[in-house]
């Protein structure tokens, strides 16, 4: 491959943050491209600073580069000034390692973490010099792949992406590489060309190839079905799930960038999946079941990672890190490690709302004290039962009290507005809660800051709320004003909110069917890139494009879906039974909360049974303070009825001893 560096270098004197484009990170691979090796360009469709820390991309980068038959480089969306310079100078999208042109790779693979980056995906395919529409690509063009959470509703991007990968990528990336190696690097051209390659990819479990399916609509223009049309292509694509996180200790060589990026620290994943069952949370639903990393491996990854990178901060990541079995031992182990000499700070990005967790936080953040953040999400107990975030007011107040009493002066609270069944009483409950938090803080400090950060709710696919009609822009704006007015007299309370217009645009894409592709394409053609960035977001681009396609916000975003309606993602599965999700939606409307299934009988959501996996946890004892959803006493934690499996599920190592590594457990009363 040819390096574009001589053409790129002169452009860098004129752009902001030129080091975004030079590579050179610790951990970056110098790869050699040979004809028999499948070349991958892994692309994060947002800026370098946002994309570089993405752990999913880094994991695949390492796994691919460890294979003798694959070579992977990375790329990120060039900022608007650089893109203009590149287009003016005729420089295409390039990799940051070798500055190789994107179109020279066999695969261009995108990480989809958010819906509003979709226009950037189109822009980057175009900047690569590859036809934006999949149907226009020939055998000479790279295969365009996408994965990540948003791949669970791939239809809006179906016209532009050749194949999507659902679920954990660790195993399936190798299987995709095998198919590509056979077709791209085989001894002779394979009959059928690109069509045959895509059909073969569609037979890989977890891979969805939109062009291998027919889409039908009924007389009213409603979607009536998505059905396979190539032999061996499954009717329903199931996500991939790795059973044992301990078998995948990645990233081993986390990238350390030369410039400052978001989450600029060592990241070690504690576990994947979440069983708290918050109904608005797509991440929690689609990553089930819970699979914990063995505690010993966490310790090793932290120690080796700090030594290798020179970072002085480590984040223990997951969807709810305080729920990790033995979290206390793990964090004290890091803090007390003499090689850290008291200068390493540990952060738990998602704190649970209780005093116990704050105690842990006080201990581990002793090096650096910023603010503490909690996410009650709903303003009243009724609202929190609807969304299944079973935090009692006492839990929140105890947590906040603990935070202020242990020296914090700033507390941030995350809430959602526009939730199903929400009344003004629920909305205003946000201010009531936050006001009480300020009052608690005043007992300890003369001046405290409580920030309530309010986001508009966007219903996501593969969740119980996928049928819910999103609040209108006007309704969300009205609720924001309610909050703002109610909070104004409260000293020490600040309300921050997400732009309701951006919430609407996210809603346009999140549940769209294949016809939404034309809307995304038009927004992009009219210059709508970096729509995640408030300085470039423009709702008019979206509503104009909708209107041009004969669609409305009313139908695309605000409409409640019905039980019998075919949903655009029904032919894809995150393991959750559709009837479980519907029942959970009915339970939500009935204000009925569902406790955490790790310590209660199985609800048969489908995530474990469908894949023959159990929750893999390192301890049979729920964490102290596990009141949320466990029915446990807040102060103690304690025993719950569990029994150990006689045989460990495939891949899970048997426990070497008490407090040791992962063992599988299941709850009594489960057949």
């Amino acid at each position: 491959m040819e390096s574009l560096w001589p053409q790129i270098e002169p452009l860098l004197a004129q752009v902001t943050k030129p080091a975004r484009y030079i590579g050179g990170e610790l951990g970056a691979r110098r790869v050699e491209h040979r004809p028999e090796v499948v070349s991958w360009l892994l692309v994060y469709p947002d800026t370098y600073e946002v994309g570089l820390p993405n752990q999913g991309l880094q994991i695949l980068y390492e796994i691919l580069n460890e294979r003798p038959d694959a070579a992977a480089e990375r790329s990120y969306a060039p900022w608007v000034d650089m893109e203009a310079s590149m287009r003016a100078a005729g420089v295409p999208l390039f990799s940051v390692e070798g500055h190789h042109p994107a179109a020279a790779f066999d695969v261009i693979a995108f990480n989809l973490s958010a819906e509003l980056v979709y226009t950037n995906v189109l822009n980057l395919i175009d900047l690569a010099g590859v036809p934006v529409r999949a149907a226009d690509r020939t055998d000479e063009h790279p295969v365009v792949v996408a994965g990540g959470h948003c791949a669970f509703n791939p239809e809006p991007l179906a016209d532009f992406v050749d194949c999507f990968v659902l679920g954990d990528g660790e195993e399936v990336v190798g299987e995709v590489n095998d198919v590509l190696a056979e077709f791209r690097c085989g001894p002779m051209p394979v009959a059928g060309g690109r069509g045959a390659l895509l059909a073969a990819l569609s037979r890989v479990p977890g891979v969805y190839v939109p062009s291998c399916y027919d889409v039908a609509y009924d007389d009213d223009g409603r979607l009536s079905g998505v059905t396979p049309r190539t032999p061996g292509t499954p009717e329903r694509v199931e996500k991939r799930t790795i059973t044992d996180l301990g078998a995948w200790p990645y990233p081993r060589q986390q990238l350390v960038p030369l410039i400052e990026v978001v989450h600029d620290r060592l990241n070690v994943e504690l576990f994947r999946g979440c069983t708290r069952g918050c109904r608005f949370c797509q991440a929690g639903m689609i990553t089930r079941p819970v699979r914990e990393r063995p505690a010993e491996q966490v310790r090793t990854m932290v120690a080796a990672g700090l030594e290798r990178t020179g970072y002085d901060e480590v984040a223990l990541t997951s969807l709810s890190s305080a729920d990790y079995s033995g979290i206390e031992d793990t964090v004290t182990g890091i803090i007390d490690d003499p090689s850290c000499s008291g200068q390493v700070s540990v952060s738990l990005p998602s704190l649970r709302v209780d005093a116990f967790t704050v105690g842990t936080a006080a201990q581990i953040q002793r090096v650096r004290r910023t603010g503490l953040t909690f996410a009650p999400e709903g303003g009243t107990w009724r609202m929190r039962q609807v969304i299944n975030k079973l935090i009692r007011e006492e839990d929140l107040y105890a947590a906040v009290d603990a935070a202020f009493s242990q020296g914090w002066k700033r507390v941030k609270l995350y809430f959602l507005i526009g939730l199903p069944t929400e009344t003004d009483e629920d909305t205003l409950g946000i201010v009531a809660l936050a006001k009480q938090c300020v009052a608690i803080g005043k007992r300890y400090h003369s001046s405290v800051t409580v920030t309530a950060s309010v986001g508009g709710f966007v219903p996501k696919v593969q969740t119980p709320f996928q049928w819910f009609g999103q609040n209108t822009i006007e309704e969300l704006t009205r609720k924001v004003h309610l909050l703002r007015d109610a909070a104004r007299p409260v000293r020490g309370l600040t309300i921050r909110w997400h732009d309701p217009k951006a919430t609407a645009a996210e809603g346009i894409v999140s549940r769209g069917d294949r016809r939404m592709g034309a809307v995304i394409e038009q927004v992009w053609r009219n210059g709508g890139t970096f729509q995640e960035w408030s300085e470039f977001f423009d709702l008019d681009l979206w509503t104009d494009a909708l209107a041009a396609q004969g669609m409305t916000l009313e139908d695309a975003v605000y409409r409640h879906r019905t039980e019998d309606e075919v949903l655009p993602w029904d032919h894809l599965s995150a393991g959750l039974h559709r009837d479980f999700l519907w029942q959970d939606w009915k339970d939500a409307l009935a204000e009925y909360g569902l406790p955490d299934c790790r310590w209660t009988p199985c609800y048969d959501c489908g995530a474990c049974t469908g894949y023959g996996v159990e929750h893999v946890v390192a301890s049979a004892v729920p964490p102290a303070g596990g009141s949320q959803g466990t029915g446990q006493d807040l102060s103690t934690g304690g025993q719950v009825p569990v029994r150990f499996l006689s045989t460990a599920p495939s891949g899970a190592a048997p426990a070497p001893g008490p407090g040791g590594s992962a063992v599988a457990l299941t709850t009594e009363g489960r057949s």
């Binding site: 001589p6 053409q7 270098e9 002169p10 860098l12 004197a13 004129q14 030129p18 080091a19 484009y21 030079i22 590579g23 050179g24 610790l26 350390v256 030369l258 410039i259 400052e260 030594e307 290798r308 990178t309 020179g310 970072y311 002085d312 090689s339 200068q343 090096v367 650096r368 004290r369």
Partner: protein
Amino acid sequence: MRIRFRFSKLGKIRFTSQRDVARMWERALRRASLPMAYTEGFNPRPQLSFGLALPTGAESLAEYVDVALDPVRAAEQGIDPAALPGVLDGLLPEGLHVEVAVPVERSKDSLQQMVTSCSWTMRLVGVDREELGAMVAALLAADTVPITRERKGREEVDDLRPSVLALAVADAVPDTAVDPSGRTVGLVAELSTRPRGVRPVELLRGLIAVSGGHADRPMDGLADTGRPGSIPVLDRACRTEQWIERDGLRQEPLLGRVVPAGADRATHALERAS
């Protein structure tokens, strides 16, 4: 205990900022397990002190950092400064090269406050020797060279002339990727840091300002970031020395090489660069 390092910054890494380089050093020093001294307070930071900030995009043969070590732990570990450049070279990113490390006395002024001038070599494209020679002569002959520059979001007019201690045309290897015509010339300069430091791009702006004809020529090459459309264009800039002037003598901050202040500054800068 305080150790002063002299290092270079060359190649692609020149596009990182001074702040980025500081963070690279922090990580490298931690990886080397050096017993760094930390600041007090809620947010303890290693005590590092750099010389004069290098503009993003410029290379350097003469960067400095002072690292404060915890005296007790440093004595326990038996730190050998002579071994440190080799250790740190392997831990810093490609493009940063540690030349030498020497223990220094703690002084009340920081390195940044003590440096009085810097030597630079520059490569300009879109101009030939005679044209640049005329511009240099015009600037040196001028009583004042007003340039506008941004400071804290406001545009201010400063006189560049007193900061230009030496300026001369030099040879430079043409870069045909940047300028196919091969019109490439070198420039050497010594620029004072008082009252404010002058960046190479600001010097170029001053050169254009004193020879008006050039500034208005149409853009047929790359623009410098400060003044789009202007030529000649600053293609590369490299700081070759930082100087501390005291009692009429210039001293290199680490090795203490002394050069009389009256010596031919520009020639000296060229020697360093070659």
